[in-house]
Subunit: 158 residues, 2 copies
Amino acid sequence: MSEGVEWGLHCCVTLAWLGDEEPVPAARLAERFQLPPAYLNKCLQALGRAGILTSTPGARGGFRLARAPERITLLDLVTAIEGPEEAFRCTEIRQRCAEANPASREFLRPCAIAAAMHKAELAWRKELAAQTLADLSAAAPRSARDAALRWFGRGEND
Amino acid sequence: MSEGVEWGLHCCVTLAWLGDEEPVPAARLAERFQLPPAYLNKCLQALGRAGILTSTPGARGGFRLARAPERITLLDLVTAIEGPEEAFRCTEIRQRCAEANPASREFLRPCAIAAAMHKAELAWRKELAAQTLADLSAAAPRSARDAALRWFGRGEND
DNA sequence: GCGATGATACTCGGATATATAATGTCCGAGTATAAGAGG
DNA sequence: CCTCTTATACTCGGACATTATATATCCGAGTATCATCGC
């Protein structure tokens, strides 16, 4: 799995803490976590295309959450970075057998192996879909949230 | 996920059908599924190192299941090919924050994000561990099993 | 005819290339800001 | 003092390198088979 998933998760949790009053530049998030700024920007762009973040260009621009943290699941985030296709992709090698006839009726049913892997993937996605950004924000220790608010210069004046 | 997982699964199901009376060369399995012989051999080697297959060198050699299909889970197979580490690997970027002190007590608890991803991975592994090669063998249509037996020259004399 | 011996073909096993995807970097398009001139 | 204009700094967005991983290939080590030779 790409590192972008971890980066995106941490950034989104941070954005959830900061609130969406004003956007946060990718460069600033990168500085926070000591990450390469340009590549983090690329990952956040993917989240933007997926409708998880909204981006505003120009000065005082940046990224903010597109909707409430309660309505953003981990599955949304992972799918945005990793793509919608499943980890196990069946290439139908059962049909490559010499005597196999692709028109045969047995191939109308899905491959038993692919079905088994698909079942496991569904369980995985179900767990991811059951947890939201709000859950993660709440699970983290308060000290981490406070430190983030301080570092980004919020929370003192608010 | 590597293609080797799909190949290994199909090969192991086939081996389960054929029984472990005499080993099957990797080249023959590759021919069956139109796969590159040398690379399939490499994948089967990984299964051998994991204790799923036993290999016998020399003439009339090849691979056979190391234990009964009921005692080989999909998780065993996937782990053998993909490795034991989880898909999501936490790099502890929460500790890279400037003000973070690695000795701080909050870092004794696991990262909430890593914990969430870990939970999903456990659900995935649980599903994989619940299904055995025997289940897959039984789930496939009888015609596929019969065709395999014919193609490998077994079942007529037995 | 039977056993020992050597040559041979076959198979795994790991070391070595190539292709693909992940990671990392760079520069242009566009916007809000701020300064400055004019009224 | 207020408004319009202009220059500027900032940020995203996608195009372009670089590195790591997966895929594919090749050749050597070792074993069972078979033929051959000797008894």
